[in-house]
């Protein structure tokens, strides 16, 4: 554990050097070198835990009221640390390429990289600390560092607003987390998670309130329905590597919190599992439908992040149900699906964001309606984006399919449950199938419109391929995606220790200590063989065909345009038209805002029409809040003018009275 503390110190020192040194190049190198030293240091300590080594522990005594700060890195923390830190390191390398223009400018880049180190530091703290107060400190550190990273382009008012939206949401989550911690502190008189665990496992009367507060906190942080609207906005505003890190790593901290408290609960109640399943499903359904309406590629990817977090939450809901129903298979499959999906999503979503960052750097646009035919100028980026996009769609032979397969298998696993429960799970599986097919639709749309075909806006300049700083992290991500897809046991070995931990309380006697126990419930060898045959045989056939046709000169011709001689790139399907049938079918769920300047006179005039899809859920939430505001406004005539604070004081007294009476 001391090595971990030294690594944390290296992060801080590297960040300070980044702030203090003279030239941008030296600042950035200092931070990168500190990450390159500290991250492997931590990973070498932490990786063996995933394969059964004993957890790392340490204690730091602190003054009142914090008490003793316990550090405990078990399999769950190790899993999250492994992918968070490595992805942050790759993201920092990508950032060098993405922000290359600023390297020799007057802007102080050290702040940005200092904040990257601070996020890495906050991950180490969040994933190891077992003391509520220190956990809150680390949570806040991550939130504020992420906010400052998001508003890199702070001259732009939209970016500032997006950052502020994110800040407010994350502090709302902090509010609920604090209330949950306060209730548990009031009951146990200590801030240690171990004391919380003892209390939660033995007393069940406060479970509902605590679970609701915790769930609200983690749903706000991880952008679950209905609190997801900040995510697409923040992702569209942030620089590409920050969007990648946020969606891949930072807001997985919310899911980590959910899992950590799952371990502390012991046996959850049945309604908690259903609630997680329901909200996860709603997240997935709403978000995937919204991905089809966006033409800003990064906003699209933000909605897709919400969808995949929803799928992971469905896995956790299934796991909770398995724990409540005492079904080892259900719980293992559910938690395995959720945790594996977190890893898979981190990999392919970061890859996709890095790709859109490359596109933005080289074309200055991420608007799908203006792009097209990027594969000619940017072949490497396009290939890597294809890998990421097909993984996002959940298609074999890539890794997205594996976790969705395990989740579907778990949902169909109906042996010893009541028929009505089983019917509900099957309906969820059907809805998951819908999500998967719409996700394929969305992925094909995004890839097809931006990378294939012809350029839609002739005024856009395609400057060329992205730099190696940006391509190499993407290549590593794509390699990991292919590895996890073609060899699914790699993924299963990584997640089996965290899953065992989650099952540990309810199934103490049932979990064996050695061997890949998950293979009792899900056999992935046939899928691995199918994936290998798929890749191998199709390459073989294509090679045969190309060899056979090489003997003649194949003259290329123009695209079939039904004998129309002047086909142009304007005639291609745009992003909006591609999904138009779907949007028309489900138009009651979408909200389109139009800005128009339609010509009204008799003679030709210039006119404009802009239409974009805004988040209907957020719209409804704000309408609800507006109703509340109107109600409060109606109370105003009853307040006395000479006591301006009377209302707030009255409210405060009411709340204090209620809490004294309740507690």
């Amino acid at each position: 554990m001391n090595t971990i503390f030294i690594a944390m110190l290296i992060y801080v020192m590297g960040g300070c050097f980044g702030l203090g040194l003279a030239h941008n190049v030296r600042r950035v190198s200092a931070v990168l070198i500190s990450q390159m030293i500290a991250t492997p240091l931590i990973l070498t300590q932490v990786l063996p835990i995933l394969w059964g080594a004993s957890p790392l522990e340490s204690h730091i005594p602190w003054t009142y009221p914090v008490g003793m700060i316990d550090f405990h890195i078990d399999a769950l923390s190790a899993f999250f640390l492994v992918f968070s830190l490595s992805l942050t390191l790759l993201g920092s390398f990508y950032a060098v390429g993405y922000l290359k223009n600023y390297l020799h400018s007057a802007r102080h880049m050290g702040v940005h990289f200092f904040l990257l180190n601070m996020t890495a530091l906050s991950f180490v703290m969040i994933y190891s600390i077992q003391n509520a107060m220190a956990f809150i400190f680390a949570w806040e550190l991550a939130a504020i560092a992420a906010w400052l990273l998001v508003i890199w382009d702070h001259d732009n008012q939209r970016v500032r607003f997006a950052g502020f939206n994110y800040l407010v949401s994350t502090h709302l989550s902090l509010l609920f987390l604090l209330s949950a911690f306060m209730i548990m502190y009031a009951r146990t008189d200590s801030f240690a998670f171990s004391q919380f665990a003892i209390f939660l496992r033995n007393n069940t009367e406060d479970h509902s309130v605590i679970f609701l507060c915790l769930w609200l906190a983690f749903a706000l942080k991880s952008a679950c329905f209905p609190f997801h609207s900040w995510l697409p906005r923040a992702h569209a505003a942030a620089p590409a590597h920050i969007s990648a890190l946020m969606s891949g790593v930072i807001h997985k901290a919310g899911l980590y919190g959910l899992l950590r408290f799952t371990i502390l609960w012991g046996e959850p109640q049945v309604w908690m599992g259903w609630m997680l399943l329901a909200f996860g499903l709603c997240s997935a359904l709403v978000a995937v439908s919204y991905t089809l309406t966006q033409s800003d590629q990064k906003r699209l990817l933000g909605y897709s992040s919400t969808e995949h977090v929803g799928i992971a939450t469905m896995g956790f809901g299934l796991g909770y149900l398995g724990l409540s129903w005492h079904s080892l298979e259900l719980a293992s499959l559910g938690f395995a699906a959720g945790i594996l999906h977190i890893l898979n999503h981190a990999l392919f979503k970061s890859l996709l964001f890095y790709g859109s960052g490359c596109i933005y750097r080289m074309t200055h646009s991420v608007d799908l309606e203006r792009l097209g035919g990027l594969w000619r100028k940017m072949p490497f980026t396009s290939t890597l984006l294809f890998v990421g996009g097909l993984a996002m769609a959940g298609l074999p032979p890539l890794n997205g399919f594996i976790s969705e397969f395990i989740l579907s298998l778990g949902l169909y696993h109906g042996l010893s449950h009541a028929p009505s429960d089983l019917a509900l799970l099957i309906l969820c599986a059907g809805a998951l199938a819908f999500v998967a097919s719409v996700s394929c639709f969305s992925s094909c749309r995004m890839l097809g419109v931006s990378l294939l075909g012809e350029q839609r806006d002739p005024q856009l300049q395609y400057k060329g391929e992205a730099s190696a700083w940006m391509l190499l992290p993407m290549l590593l991500h794509a390699f990991a995606i292919l590895l996890l897809g073609l060899w699914p046991y790699a993924g299963l070995t990584l997640i089996q220790a965290p899953v065992k931990l989650l099952l540990g309380f309810t199934f103490e006697k049932a979990t064996p200590n050695a061997g890949l126990f998950l293979s009792d419930f899900v056999v992935l060898t046939p899928i691995a063989w199918i994936s290998l045959w798929l890749v191998g045989l199709s390459l073989l056939l294509f090679a045969l065909r190309t060899w056979k046709l090489k003997t003649h000169n194949l003259k290329p011709s123009r695209t079939w345009a039904c004998a129309y001689g002047y086909a142009s790139s304007h005639m291609q399907y745009t992003a909006r038209s591609f999904s138009d049938l779907f949007i028309q079918n489900f138009r009651r769920f979408f909200l389109f805002k139009q800005r128009q300047n339609i010509p009204t006179a008799y003679f030709p005039q210039k006119g404009t029409l802009q239409s974009h899809c805004v988040d209907a859920v957020e719209n409804q939430i704000f309408k609800g809040l507006a109703v509340g505001e109107r109600l409060l406004g109606r109370l105003k005539p009853y307040g006395r003018e000479d006591l301006p604070l009377a209302f707030s004081l009255g409210l405060l007294l009411t709340v204090l009275l209620m809490s004294v009476l309740w507690l």
Binding site: P396, F405, L415, A436, F441, P556, T559, C562, A567
Partner: protein
């Protein structure tokens, strides 16, 4: 080993036989004799011997996609039992992999269509993706409920366990309904899509593959024929009362008869009704969705 040979021979023969039967039954309604039963096979052979025309807007994806479709359809064929009780590859959850492989094929074709940079193929890609969002939930709810309630997790075990259960007749009828609908959605038959229309604006699936030619087009057409065979075989194996492993000859004969009957029905339906409007497709799919929900309810109350 014998069963594997039967499986492979059926996969090579039956898609063409069934396509030919459908065309012949349509010709019967037109008062014609119709093309030969194996005409689609001769068309494929002709296409393989030709050289494709590649257009200048396309990348490698356009040329590669047909082979992804072909290989994924072959792999899906190894999972599906054509006759009740046997498939070469059977494992827990294989129906999910079956659907995913067919989805991969469809996505490959959609990407190849977007690759051409043409308005026609884009339209086809858009329409094909749209109708695919209907078929998958039906399939998963219906087949999945059957699987979960019979505590089996693979197609092979499922078809085996359905053999001797007579109480499930009502469930089998509703399953046949939504499988029939999925057949029409996925394999582009009337009333969803007219496979013989010459007007691009009325095409759903064919317009997506307009620019493909030569061996690439042969690969795509063969995959389509195989997909048609899959769904017809699924419906037939629902009603076939003989297990392949126990009464091989009887099983094969009754499956063939059922499949030919279904093909003739498809042909008759195609000749009698027109294609429905694209905007009415979602309403049409609700029939299949309702059938799959009915299956779920029947099995919930019986099981």
């Amino acid at each position: 080993m014998l069963y594997l040979i039967i499986h492979v021979v059926s996969l090579l023969l039956l898609p063409f036989v069934l396509l030919g039967t459908i065309n012949r039954s349509k010709a019967f309604f037109n008062g014609r004799k119709g093309v030969k039963i194996f005409q689609s096979y001769f068309d494929l052979r002709k296409l393989i011997s030709k050289f494709p025309v590649i257009n200048s807007s396309t990348s490698l994806i356009f040329s590669f996609a047909p082979y992804i479709v072909l290989v994924s359809t072959w792999l899906a064929a190894s999972i599906l039992p054509f006759y009740p009780g046997y498939s070469p590859l059977a494992f827990s959850g294989d129906f999910i992999v079956f659907a995913a492989l067919l989805a991969l094929g469809r996505c490959a074709l959609v990407l190849a269509a977007m690759d051409t940079g043409s308005a026609f193929e884009g339209m086809g890609a858009s329409r094909e993706s749209y109708i695919s969002t209907f078929a998958e939930p039906m399939f998963f709810i219906g087949i999945g409920s059957l699987l979960a309630f019979s505590s089996e997790h693979s197609f092979q075990a499922l078809s085996h366990s359905l053999l001797n259960v007579h109480q499930l007749t009502l469930a089998k009828i509703s399953i046949s309904i939504f499988l029939w609908l999925i057949l029409h959605f996925e394999c582009s038959r009337i009333p969803v899509d007219d496979p013989q229309t010459h007007l691009e604006l009325t095409m759903l699936h064919e317009v997506m593959i307009l620019d493909h030619s030569g061996p690439d087009l042969a690969a795509i057409l063969w995959s389509q024929a195989m997909k048609l065979f899959f769904y017809i075989a699924l419906i037939a194996s629902m009603w076939n009362p003989y297990d392949l492993l126990d009464q091989t000859a009887l099983s094969i004969c009754s499956s063939w008869l059922l499949m030919l009957l279904i093909a003739v029905c498809i042909g008759f339906l195609e000749s009698l009704i027109p294609r429905i409007k694209i905007s009415s497709l979602s309403q049409y799919s609700r029939l299949g969705f309702a059938a799959s929900l009915v299956t779920l309810i029947i099995l919930t109350f019986k099981g």
